[in-house]
């Protein structure tokens, strides 16, 4: 007897690329639409369809879209920077954070000096007591494992515009 199940007329991007039938339970279909072929192509190139499928199966369904978007972002950055991938981006952001911490500490010290000057009515106290608590207020995310990457990544990736930090899809 002929099956009543209709043949899929709209394969998802994954099944199109993998040249297979896109069934109703295709794990990729909700997240790799047929009008976004590039998204699956880059994820497949970096991670492989099989690994992506395993990752998606491991996460709750309500978190799969975020998972796919983060995988796509990571894959795109890796293809743009095959050596450091997202690690390069993280190193740059950490460096920027350290610079900001420094600037903030200096600004707060300067503010404290002005405040002391205002309250004491003295033009220049010459005080060098700096408020270093600003550093503790903004601890830089990520542990010591990144230290080895920071300097090298910064030197080799001065071209920071390659990291388009505005394009994380899930923001």
């Amino acid at each position: 007897m002929r099956s009543r199940e209709p043949r899929s007329t709209c394969s998802c991007a994954a099944c199109k690329l993998l040249k297979r039938r896109c069934g109703p339970n295709c794990i990729f279909a909700p997240y790799f639409r047929s009008d976004e072929p590039k998204k699956f192509a880059i994820v497949h190139k970096v991670f492989g369809a099989s690994n992506v499928s395993k990752i998606l199966i491991e996460v709750p369904e309500e978190q799969r879209e975020d998972t796919v978007n983060s995988l796509a972002y990571e894959a795109e950055v890796r293809l743009r920077d095959p050596v450091y991938g997202c690690i390069g981006a993280i190193a740059l952001l950490q460096r920027k954070m350290v610079e900001l911490q420094h600037d903030l500490a200096l600004a707060r010290a300067r503010l404290a000096l002005y405040a002391a000057t205002c309250s004491a009515g003295i033009a220049n106290t010459g005080s060098d007591r700096f408020n270093m608590t600003a550093l503790a207020e903004f601890p830089v995310a990520c542990g010591g494992i990144m230290d080895g990457f920071s300097q090298t990544c910064y030197e080799l990736n001065q071209d920071a515009h390659m990291y388009d930090f505005t394009q994380i899809p899930y923001i």
Binding site: I55, Q63, R78, P82, V83, Y84, A123, F138, I168
Partner: protein
């Protein structure tokens, strides 16, 4: 001969040749390193990626792949992108604080100069 295999070839149960591309970066004394990378990227993808790079950059690439794989294994949903997001938030907060502090300095400065 089996004892001379790198972690990758040992895991994949294959002969480790002299020109094995994975061997320098996945030594046999750290099997977990290869397992992590293989689980997320797959040995074939890692090999292809390393092959496309000049030799002097492959060690850094292998290290960064390992780090990203570890992040993804710890956080299946966001991987290391979660850290990027966190850093962006921290930077935004610190920049806001800096602007606020600089504005306060400007006010204080004018008070000092024009009491």
């Amino acid at each position: 001969m089996g004892s001379g295999r790198c972690a990758a070839c040992r895991y994949l149960r294959r002969k480790c040749t002299d020109d094995c591309i994975l061997s320098p970066y996945f030594p046999s004394n750290n099997p977990q390193r290869f397992v992590s990378v293989h689980r997320i990227y797959g040995a074939s993808n890692v090999s292809k990626l390393l092959q496309r790079l000049p030799t002097h950059l492959r060690a850094e690439a292998a290290d960064s792949l390992y780090y990203e794989a570890q992040c993804r294994l710890e956080d299946r949903v966001y991987g290391c992108v979660g850290l990027i997001f966190l850093l962006q938030q921290q930077i935004h907060a610190a920049e806001s604080q800096l602007i606020k502090t600089q504005a306060e300095i400007a006010v204080m400065k004018s008070q000092v100069q024009h009491p």
